[in-house]
């Protein structure tokens, strides 16, 4: 790296640069083109196409989609299944985001301490995050098996009866939520741990010397320091939670009783590919995207405001 020793570039453009831009523009275009084409064709085009399809009645294998106006939106509004799905989505998202952020921070604080063997626990905690959702889902289907599963066995040993996690919608949703948190907790943990290790410890020490109680140090020093991380996680974890498909498909197929554990993403899949109503599926996809956009924009606004203060 001898070039590092060269003195800084003189003020004003060197003459050689004058000819560069056009060539550089072309090169930049060539380098960006494949990626841009892929994103436009397979991400943005379908997003817009969803809006068109949402006004049609369409079987996904049929060549023609019939325009039916806002009928799909009206149907969604009155569909009891949609109400169930909406509640499921909110419960699942709030539970997974809330629990994994609180637990992730708590565990990061724990494993930031000087404790023997903490590196092993860190690795173990992060490991489930890399396993495929399908494999985790199948494993936990057996863990929750109402007759021969791990939970049932443990409960029986202490004399507790367990509900039928497969058949009762509330418990099925509970099962899917726990499974999701088990798999993804390592992510929030790792991000919080990195933030804890990168923060300025002197503030905390100063507060300690000032005689602030641990709780005050936590709420007045630590949490404000971690605020950017918390905002970042709230956005990414929410986006990930809302998109869950593999675990639900493998464990419950959206059931029991039709839509017991179906979230909006699952409803999109089910209406489009199982019930052959792709127009209706596109309607739900469009509604979901608008929801997601609004929630994320609100979060980004909050984040910017948090940065300014």
């Amino acid at each position: 790296m001898t070039s590092a020793a060269v003195p800084p570039a003189p003020v004003g453009d060197p003459p050689r640069r004058r000819g560069r831009p056009i060539g550089e523009w072309t090169l930049a275009g060539l380098l960006l083109l494949p990626n841009l084409v892929l994103l436009v064709v397979f991400t943005y085009r379908p997003l817009i196409d969803n809006v068109r399809l949402s006004f049609t009645s369409w079987n996904i294998s049929a060549p023609v989609a019939h325009y039916i106006g806002t009928a799909n939106y009206v149907r969604w509004w009155h569909d009891p299944n949609s109400h169930q799905v909406l509640i499921n989505t909110v419960v699942f998202t709030v539970a997974t985001v809330g629990v994994s952020m609180v637990l992730g921070l708590a565990l990061a604080m724990l494993l930031d301490q000087k404790l023997r063997g903490r590196n092993i626990v860190r690795s173990v905690l992060f490991a489930p995050f890399v396993i495929s959702g399908a494999a985790v889902g199948i494993a936990f289907q057996f863990v929750f098996d109402p007759n021969f599963g791990l939970i049932r066995d443990l409960a029986q040993r202490v004399g507790v009866t367990v509900p039928d996690f497969y058949q009762q919608p509330h418990w099925a949703l509970f099962m899917v939520t726990v499974t999701y948190i088990w798999k993804n907790l390592g992510y929030t943990f790792v991000i919080y741990l990195a933030a804890l290790q990168g923060r300025r410890a002197d503030l905390d020490e100063a507060a300690e010397i000032d005689g602030a109680s641990p709780w005050r140090r936590f709420t007045k020093v630590l949490l404000p320091q971690l605020r950017p991380t918390t905002y970042f996680l709230s956005i990414t974890v929410l986006l990930n939670s809302v998109q869950v498909f593999d675990i639900i498909n493998v464990m419950t197929r959206g059931g029991p009783q039709g839509y017991g554990t179906a979230t909006m993403v699952y409803q999109v899949y089910k209406e489009t590919f199982v019930n052959s109503q792709a127009g209706y599926g596109a309607t739900i996809a469009t509604i979901m995207f608008v929801f997601l956009l609004v929630v994320t924009l609100v979060q980004v606004r909050l984040m910017d405001r948090g940065r300014q203060t």
Binding site: M1, S3, V6, P14, P21, E24, W25, L27, A28, L31, L32, P34, N35, L38, L39, F42, T43, P46, L47, D49, N50, I60, L110, K114, L115, R116, V121, L125, F126, A127, V130, I131, S132, G133, A134, A135, I138, A139, F142, F148, D153, W182, V190, I191, A194, A195, G198, E208, F232, L233, T236, L239, Q243, D246, N249, V265, V268, A282, A285, T286
Partner: protein, 296 residues
């Protein structure tokens, strides 16, 4: 001399940490270890349960109370999993799809990031926003229109049908762009004055200075593509192009009543490669994930 000061500094932090620990007291420390043990158990016991079940004979799976160690250990489950379903085909498909898709994404991500950080052209920020905003669009809601398009092309049950629609890169572009922007401008300018063309600048200067981030980006991409589920699931009807996660689902549905032994064996086999990769490379992966967070 510098090692000397380092040692002194290390000594000081040690003393300091010992003091900090004495503040927290033995009760807190016990609580800390207890919490660690509980964490370990909660993560490890379900996995242990799956592994134990995979080595049980069929009748032993359906006993109450359950056996926590197989009385009659057997590898029948693994035999059934490997030969009962075309496990080899699923594994091969997973390797092909993950390999080609990851390589494509890494190359496209590096090239896009380079253009968006070290080349100058009009509308650069706009293009960057177009790339980044794709992160906001879940794959799950683009599948309807993409499914119709790919079916029309006759690409269902083909590798290109699975790979091409997934090949656009947003996150990796973001990660690598931040990395390239963190290279000191003096170095870039000096290389340019030395007469390095744009491609040479990328290959000889920018990339060699970005290895850790590139490795992190690559590992995250490989793990993600290995685990990709919905799109391969929609595109594949059988073992011609089905990946391992898709194969697991098919194994599950072919039996009326789940035959847990082989299913658990197949699950263990599907988990194993990615866990091994993780154990070896976790540091790099964590670096990539946290780099995205800190800059984000």
């Amino acid at each position: 001399m510098s090692t000397m000061t380092k040692r002194i500094r290390a000594r000081r932090t040690e003393v300091h940490n010992a003091e900090a620990m004495s503040h927290s007291g033995p009760a807190l420390k016990t609580f800390g270890y207890l919490a660690m043990v509980i964490t370990l158990l909660v993560v490890a016991v379900p996995l242990f349960w799956v592994v134990v079940t995979s080595f049980k004979q069929r009748p032993d799976i359906f006993t109450q109370p359950a056996e926590w160690w197989p009385k009659h250990p057997t590898t029948d489950g693994y035999h059934n999993a490997v030969f009962g379903i075309p496990f080899g085909s699923y594994l091969r498909n997973s390797l092909i799809i993950t390999g080609v898709l990851s390589a494509t994404k890494i190359v496209l991500g590096v090239l896009s990031a380079y253009a968006l950080s070290l080349l100058r052209f009009p509308g650069r920020n706009l293009v960057f926003i177009v790339v980044i905003a794709a992160l906001m669009v879940p794959n799950q809601i683009t599948v309807i229109s993409n499914y119709a398009l790919v079916s029309q092309l006759g690409w269902r049950n083909t590798f290109q049908g699975i790979i091409i629609p997934l090949a656009g890169v947003a996150f990796g572009t973001f990660l690598m762009r931040n990395q390239f922007l963190s290279i000191p401008t003096e170095i870039i300018e000096a290389a340019r004055l030395d007469g390095a063309g744009p491609l040479k600048l990328l290959w000889r200067v920018a990339l060699p200075m970005s290895w850790p981030t590139l490795v992190a980006f690559s590992i995250i991409t490989i793990v993600n593509e290995w685990n990709e589920y919905l799109w391969p699931f929609l595109m594949s009807d059988d073992s011609r192009t089905g990946t391992l996660p898709v194969g697991l689902t098919l194994l599950q549905t072919t039996d009326g009543i789940t035959n847990w032994g082989p299913v658990m064996a197949a699950t263990v086999l599907a988990m194993l490669p990615v866990l091994i990769v993780f154990l070896v490379l976790q540091r790099h992966m964590i670096k990539g994930l946290t780099a995205g967070a800190v800059k984000g």
